[in-house]
């Protein structure tokens, strides 16, 4: 992990990254995926520890972190957008 890394992608299957510092909209963030550095320009403010999309995610698609589904998008989520309770919902324990 580079000292200046500001976001972590945990698994190569993931479509979100986790910000390890608070990041502002408009910032270009570098993250490492499958050994290669990639860039994404943030379109939302991302609080520390929160997630943002590293690819476009269509409505009704699995959001992947740790290489596993963590729920489903409730609307289209653009690359660089904050992924949280406003656009991601759990699929478990609610009938």
């Amino acid at each position: 992990m580079e000292k200046k890394t500001k976001a972590i992608v945990l698994n190569q299957k993931d479509n979100v990254a986790t910000a390890i510092v608070a990041l502002e909209a408009g910032t270009t963030v570098v993250f490492v995926k499958e050994g290669y550095a990639e860039k994404v320009k943030l379109v939302s403010d991302i609080p520390m520890g929160h997630k943002f999309a590293i690819v476009n995610i269509e409505k009704g698609c699995a959001v992947i972190k740790y290489g596993e589904p963590i729920g489903e998008s409730t609307r289209q989520i653009g690359r660089g957008e904050h992924v949280h309770v406003q656009n991601l919902v759990s699929k478990r324990g609610n009938g």
Partner: protein, 389 residues
């Protein structure tokens, strides 16, 4: 199994070993809790259980209460036990005593109705525990194999940092303990939801795998059948503020803390492991009910990760609080024992932090006090399925 590293602990008559040497005052019913507290008050080495149950529970719940209280009495961190009853409760104090005495410990029983009121009960109770203390202080710590350790694992007040760093680091410590022949308990079944397929496939046998999956299904269906939505309570508001959006996300971060060992056994609440290595106990995700279940099952020490911070601690088992959130560590220094935030900053590896946690676990098992112990945290609550009558 290497079985080379020792900790300094207390040998017990039943062959088990304690990391602490408490005299435990157990109120067998809520009515005698006040007397039990007064008996233990101000006496170093004497602790009491803030138990409010023991009367009015039905069926399986009454069995859980008895099993949990007996489990605390037989826990190797306890030298001797005083049971304080009222006298008319459904859980007979003598039944509790019989369950504990079989482990070779001194157990005494008094009831408020027999002794004749609270003041006399406190006076007699203090006389008994002071006599027990005289013998307890004579027992010295000895080098004991780590294979006798049952380690509970827990995470509470989780945030993004738990799954990224503190839980994987605790997982490394758990693997090191299992390599020494020790036992590790993973519990909190509702926080397996979404990650159960990954955890259960590590089971030694298909039957153990099925037991884990069945327990997860039971909890999920229980919420749905009650017309409830697990999302109302889990993740909690603090989890969500800390970046965890869904229960699946929380669970996937959660299971890292058990390490990578094969799963050897699936236990019901408050049951004692019969295998060494990694075992799973079916408990709620409620921090205190989970902690109580693991300690009743024989855990002599607990590793507890947190992102948001937690004061939680057990009356009889040291609980080491570990965070990877630097801000939480700085803000809650009096509650938090270890900081693993350098993992997230890229300045420490998960393996290196895991080794530090393992070393700290041995120090605390050998007598080093945790922050929760210094603060006198003695959280206790028994899991119940039905209303009391």
């Amino acid at each position: 199994m290497r079985d080379t590293i020792k900790f300094m602990g207390f040998n017990r008559p039943d062959g088990k070993a304690g990391t602490r040497n408490h005299i435990l005052v157990i109120p067998s019913v809520g009515c005698s809790q006040n007397a039990a507290r007064a008996i233990a008050h101000g006496l170093k080495g004497v602790v009491y259980l803030p138990n409010i149950l023991g009367c009015g529970q039905m069926g399986d719940d009454s069995i859980l209460v008895k099993k949990t209280l007996v489990g605390f009495g037989t826990n190797p961190n306890v030298f001797a036990v005083l049971i304080v009853g009222n006298g008319c409760e459904t859980l007979a104090p003598q039944e509790l005593a019989d369950g504990i005495t079989s482990h070779g410990k001194r157990v005494e029983v008094i009831t408020i109705q027999d002794v004749g009121g609270t003041k006399k009960t406190i006076s007699l109770g203090r006389k008994i525990v002071k006599d027990m203390l005289e013998n307890a202080v004579k027992l010295k710590r000895e080098p004991i194999s780590l294979s006798k350790i049952i380690l509970g694992t827990e995470c509470g007040g989780s945030d993004y940092s738990s799954g990224l760093a503190s839980n994987p680091a605790v997982g490394v410590a758990c693997d090191l303990l299992v390599a020494e022949g020790g036992t590790v308990i993973l519990s909190e079944t509702p926080e397996l939801i979404g990650a159960e397929h990954i955890f259960a496939r590590r089971a030694r046998t298909p039957e153990i795998e099925r037991q884990v999956l069945d327990a997860v299904t039971w909890w999920e269906n229980r919420a749905i059948a009650a017309g409830q939505d697990i999302r109302d309570g889990n993740p909690s508001p603090g989890n969500i503020a800390g970046g965890i959006t869904t229960l699946e996300e929380k669970s996937l971060g959660c299971i890292y803390k058990a390490g990578t060992s094969t799963l050897e056994e699936a236990l019901t609440y408050a049951s004692h492991p019969t295998k060494s290595g990694l075992v799973y106990m079916d408990t709620p995700a409620h921090d205190i009910e989970q902690l109580t279940g693991m300690v009743a099952g024989g855990a002599q020490i607990v590793l507890f990760t947190t992102g948001r911070g937690t004061p939680c601690g057990s009356p009889i088992a040291p609980v080491i609080k570990i965070t990877a959130n630097r801000n939480t560590f700085l803000k809650m220094r009096d509650n938090t024992d270890m900081d693993t935030s350098k993992i997230i900053q890229g300045k420490e590896t998960i393996v290196s932090a895991g080794k530090r946690i393992f070393e700290e676990m041995i120090s605390v098992s050998s007598g080093k006090m945790t922050k929760a112990e210094k603060l006198g945290q003695s959280d206790f609550s028994i899991f119940q399925m039905n209303p009391n009558i």
